[in-house]
Symmetry: C2
Subunit: 238 residues, 2 copies
């Protein structure tokens, strides 16, 4: 019921998508070459950036870590800023693809839809962990246009939650005095999973427990019944 049926993207999926969306700034002709090297470059870029910050990562660092020469890098982007934009737009695209079209069975009740949104978002961030970490850390530091895109994406995610919460309030699933900013405050709960990933790993918190916990906090705040053990067993058969 709440477990994601949606396809979670692999690194190769993402690189292929990056290639498609940046045909003009990538001068490599053969897709199989491009995708393979893009994976090397992007993986290295994400790792270095998430360790030291994007600004602090020099293209010489990136060249060394990826095994692609300085000149080679510039066959895949025409400026360091373009590299940043590539990654950011891939993340916002993935969120839209994953949350935008919920399966028919969860749309029927606001409660299931809400649980599905939480589950799907957290599993998506887990599958794309370095991408989301990057996006969160670096979105602030850049030009107005890109920043605007990040804010819009942010608000789109929030609107998915706002819509389902409002629908649940109308049909009586959720309490009438649910906080009006509940949608806004759900996001930081989802984000903590990847922002503090190291902490949860250290404490051996499993992703399923984390999802269940966020679902229960949000349900409680909405004035709905929290998830039963039976319900958990059904949706998380592992």
């Amino acid at each position: 019921m709440t477990t994601a049926g949606t396809h979670l993207p692999t690194t190769e999926d993402l690189c292929r998508s990056v290639l498609e969306n940046n045909r003009d700034s990538i001068s490599i002709q053969k897709p199989e070459f491009a995708v393979r090297k893009l994976a090397l470059i992007l993986n290295a870029a994400l790792e270095l950036s998430n360790k030291k910050g994007f600004q602090a990562m020099s293209l010489r660092d990136l060249s060394r870590a990826s095994g692609v020469s300085m000149g080679g890098l510039y066959s895949y982007f025409d400026s360091k800023d373009t590299l940043l934009k590539m990654i950011l737009s891939e993340v916002t695209g993935a969120v839209e693809a994953a949350l935008g079209e919920p399966p028919a069975e969860v749309r029927q009740t606001p409660r299931d839809h809400l649980l599905w949104l939480i589950d799907t978002h957290i599993r998506l961030t887990e599958a794309m962990l370095p991408w989301f970490t990057f996006s969160l850390m670096e979105a602030k530091n850049f030009p107005a246009a890109e920043r605007r895109q990040a804010i819009d994406s942010e608000e789109l995610t929030e609107s998915y939650f706002a819509e389902v919460l409002a629908r649940g309030q109308q049909d009586g699933s959720f309490s009438a005095d649910m906080p009006p900013l509940m949608a806004a405050l759900t996001k930081p709960l989802l984000q903590d999973w990847y922002v503090k990933r190291a902490k949860y790993r250290r404490r051996k918190v499993h992703i399923d427990s984390y999802i269940a916990m966020v679902q229960n906090i949000v349900l409680a705040a909405c004035g709905a019944a929290t998830r039963t053990t039976a319900e958990k067993a059904e949706s998380d058969p592992a």
Copy 2:
């Protein structure tokens, strides 16, 4: 009851504290000189860093914005890294000072203590907004030692919450099946106030409403009764 009686630091308080804690790297002798210029330098540094990122802020930018010459800056810190450390350690110190010693009247019941922690933390971050923004954005990017300090400070804050939640669970104020990571998940709710400060300003959300909302979400998740209107009127007389 929950409104902070604790003293919130002003810019001058903070600069004086920075001076005391960095006597060795500050070569200016006369305190009144030092505090005045520190305020110029730190205010400019926070504004520039929070706009473009600390790495992207050059010391020439900082010199121009603060009105202090390049050489003059180096009378107040011996490297750009030291400037970073000054600001970070001031923030962790302020949190400890504010949350470490709750007034006697709130210690009596876990519920009041919890509400006080939420209220005080959010008001502190509001009073030191650029400092906290800086701390959150820049802590990741730096040497092991400083990073360790940031993590410790983070966990100290969480432990204040963990302790009071455990106490409330023991004496029956909070439900027995309260999520075990409730303390961990309270922090992102507190942080959203300064992380997304612009959003809440745009939506005209008052700090009092925000605090009340977080308190209610946490109380609901703890299985405690949410705050009544009467209680609100008492603690937020404005």
